[in-house]
């Protein structure tokens, strides 16, 4: 069975295109406001105040950012834990996205907290009652695990190729030896980190949901429910594969590669069942708590809820059920985008729309500065992704030779 052989390799296409320059400008704009935040304080750049302590930096950068990086642990579970070999090609891109995504979750937290120089405090100052503590600890550990999971790709890239210039060339040999040792060690122990990555993801994805539970009646009943952690976990699992599909299609389009349609189509079969479980959870919670009464009131809140559920869940669910959609690149792209939009919307609604403080003077609307920083972070992530796939063997390219076993995680090739 020699067909569709792919091997991860660095992309050779040039870095800057008009699109990339535009994205760089968005990134730059974000950095300007970010500088403003660190020089003049949170109040100068954001619309946050004593009524609305959390805005889109928590809702989108942290809440949605964490969920949209879920492709990393869902594909790791599918490819490495369940050993579905055919999905091997998508694991590395998903891992890279998760690594960058979570790095920027951490950067987002760092930007948002007032006393950023104390960000390490949760490591030694524990409060087991706090959902935020659990999110913080799990994200820190998971980020470490993601970096470890990425290390084999780094060793693969540089093993036997270490060639430092000038006086540093003396270090070539020791570094190469270090890489070899690292590679061997990681190879034996990687499964520990892979399982840990999935466990840590499940834990903090659900705890992100627990976050808002403590705000009690300040949160609109359409979203405030004790099963929030479950809904957050289910939606994160459901958005993982659509995120991978969207990225894979975007990357192949951008680099002029043939879309890995066969893999993506078979991956997309998982989406509808996962989305249905999430939708079932959400709808039954609504009926058990009888919150549908709030939908009869026609206002911003009910409209935003409607958009989240209908456009973000029900329509893409229907699309992923259709074979025609799953087998068309455009169909897959649109359906995946809708799921991503739905989860983005859900996190925004949970952290921003639903939050209704008792003495709010005026509603919170994110400031230009907040939006700029959030978009800037996304832009930087895209730029880094592009840079990484040019340096490291992440995206799989077709190869002629048969011997293709990728060297990542548990190696199953016989020696």
């Amino acid at each position: 069975m020699i067909k569709h052989l792919h091997k991860p390799a660095p992309i050779t296409k040039k870095y800057f295109t008009p699109g990339v320059i535009l994205i760089s400008l968005i990134a730059l704009n974000g950095l300007v406001f970010l500088l403003g935040r660190f020089i003049f304080g949170i109040g100068a750049v954001t619309n946050l105040n004593d009524q609305y302590p959390w805005g889109i930096w928590i809702g989108l950068d942290v809440g949605a950012g964490g969920a949209l990086a879920a492709g990393g642990f869902t594909t790791a579970a599918l490819g490495h834990i369940m050993h579905r070999d055919k999905y091997e090609t998508i694991i590395r891109p998903a891992l890279l996205t998760a690594m960058l995504g979570y790095t920027f979750v951490a950067v987002g937290v760092f930007t948002d907290i007032g006393r950023w120089y104390n960000i390490w405090h949760p490591l030694i100052m524990w409060n087991g009652n706090s959902a935020l503590f659990e999110v913080g600890i799990c994200v820190m550990f998971y980020l470490t695990v993601l970096y470890i999971e990425f290390l084999p790709i780094v060793t693969e890239r540089f093993m036997g190729k270490v060639n430092l210039p000038g006086i540093l060339s003396r270090l070539n040999k020791p570094i190469d030896r270090l890489l070899h040792t690292l590679d061997r060690g990681l190879d034996r122990t990687m499964f520990i980190f892979i399982i840990a990555g999935v466990v840590l993801s499940c834990l903090h994805q659900s705890s992100l949901g627990t976050l808002m539970v403590v705000s009690g009646p300040k949160m609109h009943p359409l979203w405030q429910t004790p099963v929030l952690p479950l809904l957050f976990l289910l939606s994160a699992i459901a958005v993982g594969f659509p995120m991978v599909i969207m990225e894979s299609l975007t990357a192949s389009h951008s680099f002029g590669l043939k879309p890995e349609k066969e893999v993506l189509t078979s991956l997309s079969k998982f989406v509808a069942p996962l989305l249905s479980i999430y939708l079932l959870g959400k709808i039954s919670d609504m009926f058990i708590r009888k919150t549908f009464v709030y939908l009869y009131e026609f206002n911003t809140i009910s409209i935003l809820f409607g958009i989240e559920v209908i456009i973000g869940v029900i329509i893409p669910l229907r699309m992923f059920l259709s074979k025609a959609v799953r087998e068309s690149t455009t169909g897959l792209y649109i359906a995946s985008m809708l799921v991503i939009f739905g989860v983005l919307m859900n996190r925004f609604n949970n952290f921003v729309t639903a939050y209704n403080p008792p003495y709010a003077l005026e509603p919170y609307v994110p400031s230009i500065g907040e939006i700029s920083v959030t978009l800037g972070f996304v832009a930087i992530e895209i730029l880094l992704y592009r840079l990484f796939v040019k340096i490291f063997p992440v995206i799989s390219l077709p190869v002629e030779k048969v011997n293709f076993k990728t060297k990542y995680a548990i190696r199953r090739n016989s020696k």
Binding site: M82, H83, N129, L132, F133, R188, P358
Partner: protein, 300 residues
């Protein structure tokens, strides 16, 4: 194969045992959260809104006691501030608002941190910087604080404030029940200065008895309810008024402690680390089994 199955199993078992051992030790550590004492002798303040004349001397005294910016003493007699409802903020840990009601006339009411018996902020704080002390006050350790503002998200009364316009060292600010003053045997600054004794400082249980006595003796004067007796599990500050305060002055809240649901979820997910360890073992099992399956497929 880089690693045979026995090795795999062995490593997995080692992890299982060591995680088990760690989790056997950690519960005590994990529960080592912030100080959260619910003493029988905790103090409180009874606010009798029917007595309050809205002189705002409490605001002045509070600012003085906490090194905040004070206006001229005479400025506090200016009633223009009553035109809009204010909230406690970074310079005013307590504010007096005037509420006009067509039915019952106007009334001035002092607002500040309620010092809950089961504080949501103490439960929420990521680093356990907030604490409920033996004397009933809810205070915090600024050196621990990371400025995440989760306490503000959690507070059912929307009390904590942050110094948003400071780039370095922004602090969470709220009423600290004059912790430093009461420690030395002094009254809280606001209670001490109140010229009409609208504020009574004392043991919370004694204050409840006193409040009930006042309602009983002057049923024509009071609305028959002590706000704070049961709200979110009870608060140190208790309010008597001639009208219903819940809804207009204070939020309508249930009687269950505010952090109750979130804490039980949190402890359910991490009950002695059993769920995470079980999930780890389950995934390890699946990994091992499917590895086997995979190999047989490869042979085909």
């Amino acid at each position: 194969m880089a690693q045979n199955r026995r090795d795999f199993l062995k490593t997995l078992a080692t992890i299982g045992v060591s995680t088990g051992a760690i989790s056997a030790v950690t519960p005590q550590v994990a529960k080592a959260g912030p100080t959260n004492i619910l003493s029988d002798n905790r103090m409180g303040v009874l606010v009798d809104a029917t007595v309050c004349i809205g002189c705002r001397k409490c605001e002045w005294a509070c600012q003085g006691a906490h090194d905040k910016v004070q206006q001229d003493f005479i400025e506090y007699e200016n009633n223009d501030v009553f035109k809009k409802a204010r909230r406690p903020d970074t310079n005013n840990l307590t504010v007096v608002n005037k509420y006009d009601s067509e039915l019952l006339g106007s009334e001035t009411i002092k607002l500040q941190c309620m010092h809950c018996d089961h504080p949501a902020c103490v439960s929420a704080c990521i680093v356990g910087a907030l604490s409920k002390e033996e004397n009933g006050s809810v205070i915090w350790d600024t050196d621990k604080c990371i400025g995440c503002r989760y306490c503000m998200v959690a507070c059912p009364f929307q009390v904590p404030a942050l110094e948003y316009y400071k780039a370095l060292d922004p602090k969470i600010v709220k009423c600290d029940f004059c912790f430093e003053r009461t420690k030395e045997g002094n009254l809280p600054a606001c209670v001490e200065i109140c010229p009409v004794e609208a504020l009574t400082y004392g043991k919370r249980e004694d204050l409840l008895i006193e409040a009930k006595k006042r309602i009983k003796n002057h049923s024509e004067k009071y609305f028959n309810y002590i706000y704070g007796e049961h709200e979110v599990g009870g608060t140190a500050w208790l309010y008597l008024s001639d009208k219903e305060l819940a809804g207009e002055v204070f939020p309508k809240l249930g009687n269950d402690p505010a952090p109750g649901v979130s804490e039980s979820i949190q402890h359910g997910l991490f009950a002695y680390f059993v769920p995470p360890v079980a999930l780890y073992a389950l995934l390890g099992g699946i990994m091992w089994l499917s590895k086997d399956k995979d190999k047989s497929e490869e042979k085909l």
